[in-house]
Symmetry: C2
């Protein structure tokens, strides 16, 4: 499994397991439980994780000392069932235990950043007009923005997460990001060296997918998020983990040819998905041909995605972008086409929806990246 590693704490050559790792893992199990299902007693946690009460007590005690958890007293008494025995003391996750600094570099001519708490709630934001800066200049802007946000945090900073356009490897190196004029930019490393914090970098569609998985009401099965902006990209969560792909280019779906009779793309090919699904083109079509044109785009999208949905037996397909364009005939036609073009097992249980996180998907996903990397919560 390609595991994302923060800079400054590289994974060991192979994946040998130290006892220390076991402990971190068990902490993560408990955190995950409290994170997704809310407060619980130590005994509940023991049952849920299959750890013993002793171990749970120990771990919880440690995390309470770290101020990651807090005791919440006895649960509200439910008179329906006679609660025999000593009443439990609830333990809960403390979202304000630390802050996360996250950046979204995917918006054109703008860099957005925020400080969030551990629940992904945005506490403050900042943005910079890039004025077309690229290469080292763009990198400097990122550094500046990140540093400002770190200074703004009022609690210890757990880490820095970045969602950027382009192809990003698991080390946090941006291999290629044409918009920003970056090639082989060691973004994570350089930020880590400047800030002394754990830094995680991923492609914007990937962080968006992670956001949906962590903070959206996503199910257990596989999830694919298609991000529709000026360009089109996708992120996949399979088995609870981000998929990176052989050359770190998983999700690069914008230049899959879908309409060979269509218009020429910037990449030179004819009829790339981007030339059909990109926002500018969608707006144009909507104006020209009305809403039913969106339905036709949905059919095309469904046709490209049907093989993917069928092959991966996905559970959820999330569309992220301007809701007025996506959440109508387009979504419906996409869903219908996929169902029509795949087997019942694949299609019938598929959920096709738009993102629940709005404009902040990428940003909040960057936070989720840190959460997953540092605390093992997702």
């Amino acid at each position: 499994m390609t595991q994302l590693s923060p800079v400054g704490r590289p994974l060991r050559p192979q994946h040998k397991v130290l006892q220390e790792d076991a402990r971190r893992h068990h902490r993560a199990l408990i955190l995950q439980q409290l994170f997704s299902d809310g407060p619980a007693s130590r005994a509940d946690l023991a049952r849920a994780t299959a750890l013993t009460r002793v171990t749970v007590s120990d771990l919880v005690g440690e995390m309470i000392r770290d101020e990651l958890l807090e005791e919440l007293g006895a649960p509200a008494h439910d008179p329906a069932q006679s609660r025999v025995g000593k009443p439990p003391t609830l333990v809960g996750f403390v979202p304000e235990a630390a802050h996360i600094v996250c950046l979204d570099l995917s918006v054109e001519d703008t860099m957005t950043g925020a400080v969030t708490n551990l629940a992904g709630t945005v506490l403050s934001r900042r943005s910079v007009d890039t004025r077309g800066a690229t290469g080292p200049d763009a990198l400097a802007l990122v550094h500046r923005l990140a540093a400002d946000l770190v200074a703004e945090a009022t609690r210890p900073v757990l880490g820095v997460g970045v969602g950027t356009p382009g192809v990003v490897d698991t080390e946090g190196t941006v291999l290629d990001a044409p918009n920003l004029g970056w090639q082989d930019v060691h973004l994570a490393r350089s930020l880590h060296e400047a800030l002394g914090l754990p830094v995680f970098v991923a492609n914007d569609a990937n962080t968006a997918a992670l956001a949906e998985h962590t903070f959206g009401h996503a199910g257990e099965g596989g999830l694919m998020l298609v991000r529709v902006g000026k360009g089109v990209g996708a992120g996949l969560i399979l088995g609870g983990q981000l998929l990176h792909g052989h050359r770190a280019a998983a999700g690069e779906i914008g230049h899959v040819v879908i309409d060979p009779a269509g218009t020429t793309c910037a990449c030179g090919r004819v009829g790339c998905l981007e030339t059909v699904l990109g926002v500018p083109r969608l707006r144009q079509r909507l104006e020209h041909d009305g809403p039913e044109a969106l339905g036709r785009v949905g059919e095309l999208l469904g046709t490209v995605l049907a093989p993917v949905v069928g092959t991966l037996n996905l559970h959820e397909l999330v569309l992220s972008g301007p809701t007025d364009l996506l959440d109508g005939p387009l979504r419906e036609a996409t869903a219908a086409t996929i169902r029509r073009n795949t087997m019942a097992v694949s299609g019938d249980h598929l959920v096709v929806r738009t993102s629940t996180l709005g404009e902040d998907v990428v940003l909040v996903g960057a936070a989720a990246l840190v959460l997953a990397g540092e605390l093992g919560v997702s």
Copy 2:
């Protein structure tokens, strides 16, 4: 990642890590190394796994006592480099340490089985004409065949692996296999109860993909195997692990619609991949329209797979089935179409090839299933 669990040794509720697990994992690391790169000294293993020499010595000693490994003496001296220091003693994997019983239920009207060693070499085989048996009758035949093969093994049997058509969940329950008339058949459980051995069951295309990954010369990146028989199915290895999908139906690609203007499929839809790529149809076409017809089929296949390859950023695409049909214009057209329809990052590093394992892919894959499940080797 959904981990496959043998019957009779269920995974613990969550995934807590015991010390015992750590040890098993480290044993697996060493085995994996010896399995894929051949004999090595303890010191080499320590370097490769990042374990200490002490730990490696301990683990190796244990495995030598278990007769899984053996000492091979000093390595052939290479006069090129001056080998200073104490000469190492090589340690090697013993393929004959145990035998594996594997079954292939995917061939029509036939059940094939074999006894293999740990290297996947077939030592003896057996097959049964099913004479159209379905349901409990077919199950009885499987039991009989498995028992006979277990009796034939001349070494302790590591486990039983089964590759079957249909949808199989991670517990080894065949949810649906029309050809065999099976629905919710607890195949793994019933075989385990009858034989008292670990049993692993997976879809035939999945075992085939695993075979290619374990015994073929597969790379590290993602692999997809498309199995072309009377029907069409696929198996995926991502991050070194089999993908199961939300409803255990990953790889069910045979009924993705590819040619809406084509012929009606048994499933009711029009133009399923199976109606184009199924062997009977291919033979028909070849006879009627000559080899170039295969090229056209390749183009269709490439069109369905391009989105998948692009989305997953796959490394290898393996075609498995009658080589005379697949390994010519069809393969070439598929590769060309995928490259034409995807970005350079996705397409340029993709390897499209036919299977190197011939008729036995599914069978040998069933062995790989056991190997992976019991020894953690893949």
